[in-house]
């Protein structure tokens, strides 16, 4: 994690969830780093998470993907398929994957505050 982005000490829970103090707020993440509560998402948080994932400030292309993901999830309750993402953003798969170091699933969804379907029991 880049120094100075998060303040205070993270609280790690028995379930692997992590509570972090970020920009003056306490925010809960799951064990894979996905946001637990969608209401905690903000553009500021997305920028912070992007920097933690080794990215610079999010440019227009990346914001386009992040906003499309959020809008799609709000409408459909699930992330878009590759096909839908390509159509919705106008980017090829290769470009989409190159925009985020962990790809769309690993990083873009995380920055967009989409929940992790990996819920247990």
């Amino acid at each position: 994690m880049e120094e100075g982005l998060a303040t205070g000490q993270d609280q790690v829970y028995a379930s692997g969830h992590r509570e972090r103090s970020i920009a003056g707020r306490k925010i809960l993440f799951d064990a894979s780093g996905f946001l637990l509560n969608a209401d905690d998402w903000s553009e500021e948080l997305a920028e912070i998470l992007a920097r933690e994932n080794g990215m610079g400030p999010l440019d227009d292309s990346r914001w386009k993907v992040v906003h499309f993901l959020r809008d799609y999830y709000r409408r459909c309750g699930r992330p878009p398929s590759n096909h839908e993402l390509k159509e919705g953003t106008g980017f090829s798969l290769m470009i989409l994957e190159s925009l985020f170091p962990g790809g769309v699933r690993g990083t873009a969804r995380l920055l967009a505050g989409l929940p992790n379907p990996r819920t247990c029991l």
Binding site: S15, G16, L36, G77, R78, L93, G103, L121
Partner: protein, 887 residues
Amino acid sequence: MKKVVLTINGIQRQFHVDSDRVLLDLLREDLRQTGTKQSCDRKGQCGACTVIVNGKTVRSCITKAEKLDGANVITIEGLGTPQNPHLIQEAFVLAGAVQCGFCIPGMIMAAKALLDRNINPAREEIKKALQRNFCRCTGYVKIIDAVVLAGRFLRGEVTPDQVRPTSGEGHIGISLPRPTSMVKACGVAEFTADIFLQGALELAAVRSPHNHALIKSIDTSLAEKMPGVVGVITAKDIKGTNRLKMIVDDQPLLCDRKVFVMGNPVAAVVADTKKQALAAAKMVRVEYELLAEMKKPEEAMAPGAPQIHEGRANVCLCLPQVKGDAEKALASSHAVVEADFSTQLIHQSPLEPEAAIAYLESGGDDAKLVVIGRGINIHQSKMVLQDALGWDNIRYEEAFAGGQFGIKLDITAEGLAAAAALHFKRPVRYICSLEESMWISTKRHPVTMKVRLGADRLGKLTAYCIDFIMENGAFTSVGYAILLRCLQMLSGGYNIPNVKAEGKLVYTNNAWGGAARGAGPPQTNFALESAMTMLAMKLGMDPLEFRLLNSLKIGETTSTGQVVEEWPFPGCLEAIRPHYERAKKECSTFPQGRIRRGVGVAGGAFGIGPAGPGDKANIAVELNPDGGLTVYGGVADPGEGNDSMLTQIAAHAMGIPMEKVRLVIRDTDRTPYSGSASGSRVTYMCGNALLSAIDLLKRAMSEAKATSYDQLVAAGKPTRYQGTKVQMTTPLDPKTGQGVPYESRVFGVQLAEVEIDTETGEVKILKMTAVVDVGKVIHPQNVEGQIEGGLDMGAGMALREQYVHGVTKDYIQTRFPTMGTSFETEIIILETPRKKGPLGAVGVGEFVLLPTNAAIADAICDATGVRIRHLPARPERVLAALAGGRA
């Protein structure tokens, strides 16, 4: 080869058969009549393949085709169709006998043969006639009810229309026929192995014979030259992580460096036929370097024990719980009991063997991989496969699933089928044998527990200490969550002011645990409830009164420190009291000779939802042009009745007939995330999300002053709305295990009445009485069915079932429950509305397992004076205990 001519369902057909072909092959393979099922590896054990030949039931899996020349065969397809069902099929649907439905065609055929010769059979005659037909879901109660009802239909005493409830009577609290029960009863519901896939290759896995070994080399060259073989894949062919990650990434899809327990896959062969694939799999040469096996937790925990997984300690999770000062409280307690307990490894035994099919729907770099399996969290299954295979464009579809009880949370056959379909770009079927299914699916974790429980002079609980070791087995699956759930529900229904606990999860080279009905608490609740009765006896108190005295009350706290706002547990104890007193009285007058009778009671409280916070369900609804409603949700229904729940709540909330509610629930492309069908969460989470979605739709209609689809569209409003339910809970503190893990719970108490033969050690359950407070009943038959099936499964855990990896291979060895082991049940439903439940309801399916084993152990103790602390209480253990040995 021999020519045989048979009449099948009134149509004469000829076949040319080899001596190894059985009737089941002709039906399923040649005629594609897949209503007749296959489950027990053609051992004639389970009855799922039952058909009628020349008027008598036969198990078609062991009936040689060459001996059937001239035979008259009737299969489930010959009885009726969903549009024109046979009266027996109607009876099974209306009696609520159809849960997962996998056993039902065989049951119906056995019932038909019985009713053809005896149109008015007594219940005992029904049990005898159907004793070779197995069911894991129902506990057989409603199946027997169905045959009785079928007899009434056939005798003309009553008609289906006179029995069938209608929407006119309302939609809540009424057993309207389940939307999928008739297709299951007619044998046309397609389970994965029933799905025809044009040109599909068949897959066979090469599996390790060793429990712990390094893979030195894999030589596939001989196998690749075998007839019909298309190819062989190994770990190097997997482009993704090659890990089936549920919580941690310790389980390879195909083992690359090491194998961790017998049965781990090292290669997959695909060929034109299954026979060819199996033959070629035997020709794959794998060189292993054997490593020390650690088959028990104590071996894995021993100083210097080698790590089973590199970079992970064998004790892979250790969690405490601390509330107050338990040691101090125990030291000053008036009475303390101390004992050790253990529960066993159990295979959940859904009747449907593991199965998957996979194919590419389109071409190119972005082709869609379609995977059809039996997963109960379809979006999670998709994501696990995406990661493992390195292929993003996947659609996961849930076929009809033949029972699950937890094991279908994990990926099994889907992984290899999908990997092979992707690699060879051909459709692939992977239908596992029962034995293989046992190797590759998760089990109920075995747990050893040491407990101390104390009370003061007045009988009020003072403190509870428990140290427990949960054997993880070779992989974690959801083991972290299982251990956590034990802590979350540790104090059961009681107010225990001081608690000290430590749970350890330990890797071994054994079958691995995972989700299993109740998922942890059935094990730890056994220790708590057993200790409760032991302490009551020590104090000279009645076990039921002792429980009432110590029941948690509103405003008090659970072991996690959660202040409870609703706690109907005392009502459950009060409701069982007259039954308990009746049973005690009857027992006291029974002459206690060789055969002894006893009565036991135990309770439980079960939290609704997952082990951690963040549980969320999305459900979408769409108003249809005809005024109907389509409900979209990734809501698996492996038999519990989630289809009923969604349909009836939607019809109720919209004020439309049930027939106008359409469900889209099995496909990741068309559904929102709704979470898993586990943790008894679906009614609570998805029911709430559904009500929320309907509320949004109705608000939009109100704003638009629209009363129809056309008016809503004309007003420019969307017709589709999505509702979400988020459970507001907190994680447990890692040092104290304190937190707020659940919004709501289901409660209950069970009473066991048993008879013990002191010379053989046999325990016979005479009756189980179950009180369950479910909040609000949506579908009475479904609730009863879950409880009856759960009691049967709990009794199996208490008395019979135990899985030994590599030894247990079939249903006889698992000691599968039968009509012969079934028992009388009485279900008492209480409805204390839950503030946050949909219409006040909560789920019920998993809870039932919590009290059963302890109630039965209590009853054995009541009868004999000997407390069984180590399950299962098989006759040899009971006899040893009676002789003063390990109990």
